[in-house]
């Protein structure tokens, strides 16, 4: 098909794939017309407030509700004993463990849920929560995961002390969760033993929290007459919530309706199922009245899905030219008091084994040991496809460490180790098949754009004057789009996703998907995919997600899986519709199907372009009697898409920092991010995702951390302490791209939202460490706050004039 002016005009009208069209959802958001869970107000609704433990580890001796029940407006106080008769004092987690809904005998982390006060309004509920008297006996707390498996360590989880496994293989200590290994240990050890060069570094990914603007919450409403349970909830995976609620409550899944509504940011914080939801649901089932529970900021940062707390050790073996021969990574993972972090059944350490990165590493081995501590449960949130941030941080830091050891340039060592463009699909030594990539081209484009050689020259000059300037390079490969059902499942449910499209007689359409937008712009990008596939304008394609009564089943939005899995389902469902449309067009035009060809928005007869039927015309015909013999009316299709592989977006980033050696203050002078996410559906939305991801990477690298004292007190759970960058602190971002489509995705798209976070964090760290590289520094742990960087300056004796 040759593009003529006329077809280009028709194509432009579709506002389809590749167009930076404005986001369809923003009209309501910028007018304040979004409907978030706290906007839901139901008749007779009561409010729940949670009573939480001030101790990280304590035995509960008694709970006295008397004074709380006397508070005006308080209706009920629920404690573990009240949940026992319905067997809901404990619940299964998405990590194969169980978690206390309300602590009965013991609290295992600070601010753990102990009781819920139900009252007529939010204020009475809060007042009532203050009046619940809990008598605790404080126990010694484990804060440092390195001490969790000591012989004399206090046992955190008495409920499973006797079990030799909690879902992921044999346990060797009551505070041990699992040990997971991948790769070839013996082979790797052998390469290390005879390698020309080896490097080793201890690298921490500190505990951080994604801190979405909207905290978690729900409104549970049980109708005692119909037996129907409706839950409005901040969930990134409403269908999984429905299945878990059915398993927990015994209510038939067909009578449970989960509604996601608008969500103010998730970043993985809204995947797990939290005790607050469960208690609200139980309270509504018991009372028959709607119950609302909304988390406070402090509760959100302290108790719901955090990220990382991975204490890594990276080792690389290489030849004298810097070609990596083997990789050996290990990590001690602090999962907190319950293993509630979302993980595929077979992948307890998530996708950590993507840690060979963009490099052709022939031999590798990795091992992760997960332990319980007296901290809040979680671990895999924050714009991270299940431990990919940790993996990428390790390899991207370690390759710099190796470069410094060999005196090689940090861009050059990457070039020497890249998987070459002609080797794709490339299977890593851990067994992942990276479908596509073009790493050399991406890096070269970035180095040219920033004048890398010029920057290195400037750095050398500054060093002679005693000034600190750092250049960070990061060339990451992500693994997203979980995932093939044969590799990934949660609670036995495969991680496919779905799309159901219905085309109306007048040629508009509605599509419903199993994913769940939290601000990513799905209403826009999915409509663009369908617009291009069907030849209908994206303006007239309505997208709905998150209402389990309407949308087909899917695993939700997390791990950058929406475009790779949900987007693929949308394209495939649209193709089913187009196939039916072709039959109808052939019937209407009285030609064979094979005589037709598709052109932008219509089928036309080959060699006779005047003879054509637009999709709009076909949509109307599909609702008449004028159809091919035996064909049903309607123009609908549903697709359940099980991806054949994950997708592997990649990027090349360069960051330039200037550090004041007297104050330790770091200024990000320049940040250049090139991303390759395959086919670009909406470049404006991609850019927005990259800006957001880089800003969150900046936050992690330069300020976010959750410190605990030795008693397990959370010392950073409010905005007084927790760093959330605003426009004032955030650097300027420059973005760029290359396009290497995924060969197995219907439209070649790969997902993008996590790349800038995963790639950004090591790039910042690499820049900061690079500023000190000439002084022999090989690694500095995050966050690179002025105080911590100044401590490095002081240790080197360069902190004074």
């Amino acid at each position: 098909m040759t593009a003529t002016k006329e077809t280009l005009e028709r194509e432009a009208k579709l506002n389809g794939v590749g167009v930076s069209r404005l986001r369809k959802e923003d009209a309501r958001f910028i007018r304040g017309k979004g409907t978030y869970v706290d906007d839901i107000k139901l008749p007779g609704m009561l409010f729940g407030a949670i009573v939480r433990s001030p101790y990280a580890h304590a035995r509960i001796k008694s709970i006295d509700k008397t004074k709380a029940l006397a508070v005006p407006g308080v209706v009920a106080v629920l404690v573990a004993d009240d949940l026992k008769p319905v067997k809901l004092d404990w619940m299964p987690t998405l990590g194969g463990d169980v978690q206390a809904v309300l602590a009965g005998e013991k609290v295992c982390f600070q601010l753990q849920e102990v009781a819920m006060v139900i009252a007529r309004d939010r204020y009475s509920a809060a007042d009532g929560a203050d009046m619940v008297e809990v008598d605790y006996e404080e126990l010694p707390a484990i804060v440092d995961p390195h001490k969790a498996m000591a012989a004399d360590a206090p046992i955190i989880r008495e409920d499973i002390a006797g079990k030799d496994e909690v879902g992921h293989g044999k346990r060797t200590h009551p505070n041990h969760i699992f040990t997971w290994e991948a790769g070839d240990k013996a082979g790797t050890d052998a390469v290390f033993a005879s390698a020309a060069v080896t490097v080793r570094e201890e690298i921490l990914n500190p505990r951080v929290h994604p801190c979405p603007l909207e905290t978690c919450g729900c409104v549970a409403s049980f109708d005692k007459v119909t037996g129907q349970l409706t839950v409005y909830i901040t969930s990134q995976a409403p269908h999984l919530v429905r299945t878990v609620v059915a398993m927990l409550s015994g209510i038939p899944e067909s009578k449970i309706r989960i509604i996601g509504g608008d969500i103010g940011g998730g970043f993985g914080n809204k995947v797990p199922i939290y005790p607050g939801y469960v208690i609200a649901i139980v309270a509504s089932i018991v009372t028959g009245v709607p119950i609302k529970w909304i988390e406070s900021r402090i509760d959100n940062i302290s108790t719901t899905g955090f990220a990382r707390d991975y204490h890594g050790i990276g080792e690389l073996a290489a030849d004298k030219d810097g070609r990596i021969k083997a990789l050996r990574f290990s990590a001690l993972a602090d999962h907190g008091a319950f293993n509630s972090h979302v993980s595929a059944t077979k992948l307890p350490a998530g996708l950590f084994s993507i840690c060979t990165g963009s490099y052709d590493i022939p031999m590798s081995y990795c091992r992760v040991d997960a332990v319980y501590t007296n901290k809040a449960p979680g671990g895999v949130a924050y714009r991270c496809s299940l431990r990919v941030t940790e993996a990428v941080y390790l390899i991207e830091r370690m390759i710099d460490v190796l470069a410094q050891k060999l005196g090689l340039d940090k861009a050059e060592i990457r070039r020497r180790n890249f998987i070459k463009a002609d080797k794709f699909p490339y299977t890593t030594s851990f067994g992942w098949t990276i479908d596509s990539g073009n790493y050399h081209a991406a890096l070269d484009k970035v180095l040219k754009a920033v004048d890398y050689a010029g920057l290195r020259k400037e750095q050398a000059e500054k060093r002679t004057k005693g000034e600190l300037m750092g250049i960070g390079v990061c060339t990451f490969t992500e693994i997203v789009g979980a995932g093939p059902t044969k590799v990934c499942d949660i609670l036995g449910i495969g991680l496919f996703d779905s799309c159901d499209i219905r085309v109306n007689p007048t040629g508009s359409a509605i599509a419903r998907l199993g994913t769940m937008s939290q601000g990513q712009g799905h209403a826009t990008t999915y409509a663009q995919i369908i617009a291009t596939e069907l030849g209908l304008s994206s303006d007239e394609i309505q997208i709905e997600e998150g209402d389990t009564d309407k949308a087909p089943y899917g695993a939700g939005t997390w791990g950058s899986r929406s475009t790779p899995v949900g987007g693929a389902a949308a394209a495939m469902a649209a193709r089913k519709i187009r196939a039916k449309a072709q039959k109808i067009a052939a019937h209407l035009l009285e030609v064979g199907e094979g005589d037709l060809e598709w052109e932008v928005d219509r089928y036309k007869v080959k060699g006779n372009p005047a003879q054509s039927k637009t999709m709009k015309e076909i949509a109307m015909a599909a609702h008449t009697s004028n159809l091919p013999p035996g064909m049903e009316q309607g123009l609908d299709a549903t697709e359940y898409y099980d991806p054949p592989n994950l997708t592997y977006p990649f990027g090349a980033y360069v960051c330039v920092v200037d550090i004041d050696r007297l104050t330790g203050e770091t200024k990000v002078r320049r940040f250049y991010a090139l991303d390759d996410c395959g086919t670009r559906i909406n470049p404006m939305i991609i850019e927005g995702q990259i800006h957001g991801g880089l800003t969150e990477a900046f936050a992690v690298a330069f300020g976010q951390a959750i410190p605990f004292d030795e008693n397990g007190n959370h010392l950073g759970n409010s905005f007084m302490d927790y760093f959330l960058p605003t426009a004032v602190e955030t650097p300027h971002w420059e973005t760029d791209h290359t396009v290497t489509p995924s060969p197995h995705h219907p439209i070649g798209a790969k997902g993008v939202a996590e790349s800038p976070h995963v790639g950004g964090i090591p790039c910042f760290s690499n820049a900061v460490v690079d500023a000190f590289a000439h002084l022999g520094v090989t690694h500095m742990d995050m966050p690179h706050t002025a105080f911590r960087v100044w401590q490095q300056c002081k240790a080197l004796g360069i902190d004074t004039r």
């Binding site: 001030p54 404080e138 007084m720 100044w790």
Partner: protein, 204 residues
């Protein structure tokens, strides 16, 4: 969060008078700004409350105090205190060893070695202010304590009153006046300490 506080306060009385006063928990508590013994459980155990302002939050703790290891020959005793704040959002515990040491000129010194442990909101928000606040509270405590023992000393020195009943109860009235923590003065001292900390060289 744990804080170790070791203090020495010279007292204007004899060691015997100070030791006598120290063993009376109600009176000692009366010297602590914001503290009150509400109930005596048995010989060595009491229930009490402490109301204090740490940073932006006013906290009211209730709990138990136990007096153990009373060693008359060394004039030393140990106080174990434990409590939660009335909203259940913070916990605190204290392990204090107090001792009376003889000093020059027949006077003595009160020596306190204590470890204070905080949990919950008190640690998260009050932690950064705790040692400064603690210092101020203890300063007021020591002043009150000194005033009380010198009153007791004066009472003992005076001719025995008829009936002798007053002898057994150390004067509690002056303590009541001092019981309220002077918040404005406290805030000012904390501010000054903070400023001083800001400009003094930080040991990293």
């Amino acid at each position: 969060m744990k804080v170790q506080i070791d203090k020495r306060y010279p007292l204007p009385c004899s060691p015997e008078i100070a030791w006598e006063f120290l063993q009376n928990i109600e009176s000692v508590a009366g010297c602590m700004p914001g503290a009150k013994i509400t109930e005596r459980i048995d010989a060595g155990r009491y229930k009490g409350t402490v109301t204090t302002k740490v940073g932006p939050a006013t906290m009211s703790f209730r709990g138990e105090v136990e007096m153990t290891e009373v060693d008359a020959s060394a004039r030393s005793l140990r106080l174990l205190g434990k409590g939660t704040d009335t909203t259940g959002s913070s916990g605190a515990s204290m392990n204090l060893t107090a001792r009376i040491e003889p000093a020059e000129a027949g006077l003595c010194t009160l020596v306190g070695v204590s470890e204070l442990s905080m949990s919950g909101k008190a640690a998260a928000f009050g932690g950064r202010m705790m040692s400064t606040v603690g210092d101020q509270i203890l300063k007021q405590f020591a002043d009150n304590f000194a005033a009380q023992v010198s009153a007791l000393q004066a009472l003992r020195a005076a001719p025995a009153a008829p009936g002798g009943a007053a002898n057994s109860a150390p004067a509690a009235a002056p303590a009541a006046a001092a019981r309220q923590l002077n918040l404005l003065a406290l805030a000012w001292t904390i501010f000054k300490d903070w400023l001083r900390g800001l400009f003094s060289k930080r040991a990293a």
